[in-house]
Subunit: 232 residues, 2 copies
DNA sequence: TGCCGTGATCTGTGATCACAGTTAGAGTGA
DNA sequence: TCACTCTAACTGTGATCACAGATCACGGCA
């Protein structure tokens, strides 16, 4: 353990494999809804776009397929799954119970740093939402940021990971519409629910935090279902 | 669309890729605890054992790594993650809330066929447990069977999938000990809790079902923690 | 005896090729 | 104009090779 003092400064530099980076890129596309349900995705063209060979893309896609965020059809075509309305309802129920639970835990275990982060991302989302001409893709991103700041405050890495997988499935269905439709954002429901959640977590009211997240998820889901673009 | 009548009988024969089969095999090893935490797994040797090239194994392993059921260390060695006791406590808390929720939903939505399946697997586990010389690996398998029969009765494929991923993480820690140690099985806690769950689901008592599953999970977790073989 | 360099052998990662199956579209016939 | 056929260009899957980095045992030096 006798090493030059200068070497104590270098950090282990997390070597990220190309496969992981490809996974991150594709996951971001899915969560933010830039990939529509039913849209096909070719390994080779994706590899070309990402500037790598097909191998890293294969790994990324196989992981996403395992998460059911992508599916490979019988025709051997990889695509974003099309969700029936009953499947969407199941997903929404599960999200309410799990994300609601995470919010409740956040109200119990949040530290001061968590509060700072949550308050800041709540303010950012509110500002964007009340702007004269809201940037919808940015609002989607800020919404995600707020939610995960809340979930991280639950201090349960496993729970956060599960929720991330749920968002991977829900993203294409929910955020695709939200990115192009200012209606729901303008209505201000999300912003109001977020304020409720922030208040509940600040005061340590677990039940209110759960209810706020549940209302937010329900509101978005009802909006999607009312548009009637889902199969079945 | 004009084809011989006999052909209408053949099912589409789900063409399982070698990668999927490799995944299934490795996942079973993990859930049943035949792979110990810290144990290394070489792609090439695994491929040789499975009688395929390294490619299908790569896909299977990358999926399991994505689920955090395996990890690739900085040394580039794939191994079963070693879990600290605090990580194990986090995992246990999450399992209680999610599997408990699934049991409660099962009590609400179970059909007659679900009841038959649950009752049968409860009886099988009880019989094995009360045998003069219980077959421990078989008891582990029957325990898994009972739990998933319950969870399937919740009629939420997404929930079941999430729980499967949790068992992938918990299997090596819990079932490794259980496979070799008759103490807990002999004590009969699991069998008693299972009977509670069966009764609760039969009568539609969601809270009791949740409590029964929670007690079962807690009992197993306490047993593991009391053995003190976890890091930290 | 203790330490450090060195090379053989392992590791996962990535690229490339081969293959079977599917799809789309041009071409041909009526 | 429509229906059919056949081919060419795709699809994912799997095998094989190449490579950089890690590990470990051996051997020489202090």
């Amino acid at each position: 353990m006798n090493r030059p003092a200068a070497l104590t400064l270098v950090e282990p530099l997390d070597r990220q494999t190309l496969g992981e980076r490809a996974y991150g890129q594709l996951a971001e596309l899915l969560i933010s809804g830039r990939l529509a349900p039913g849209e096909k995705l070719s390994l080779r063209t994706a590899a070309e776009v990402l500037g790598v060979s097909i191998m890293p893309v294969r790994e990324a896609v196989s992981r996403l397929v395992a998460d059911k965020a992508l599916e490979v059809a019988a025709n051997r075509a990889v695509r974003v799954p099309v969700m029936s309305s009953s499947q969407f309802r199941d997903l929404t129920r599960v999200r309410i119970s799990i994300e609601g639970h995470a919010a409740a835990e956040a109200a119990r275990h949040r530290g001061d740093d968590d509060m700072v982060a949550i308050a800041r991302s709540e303010a950012a989302m509110r500002a964007e939402s009340e702007a004269a001409m809201p940037d919808l893709p940015r609002a989607v991103e800020l919404n995600k940021h707020f939610h995960f700041d809340v979930y991280n405050a639950a201090r349960s890495p496993i729970l956060v990971e599960i929720i991330r997988a749920l968002w991977l499935k829900a993203g294409p269905v929910i955020n695709l519409d939200l990115r192009g439709n200012p209606d729901r954002l303008a209505k201000g429901d999300a912003v109001r629910f977020h304020a409720d959640v922030l208040r509940a977590i600040t005061s340590g009211d677990a039940d209110a935090a759960r209810a706020g997240i549940a209302a937010d998820i329900t509101g978005a889901a009802d909006f999607i279902l009312s548009r009637g673009s889902l199969a079945d």
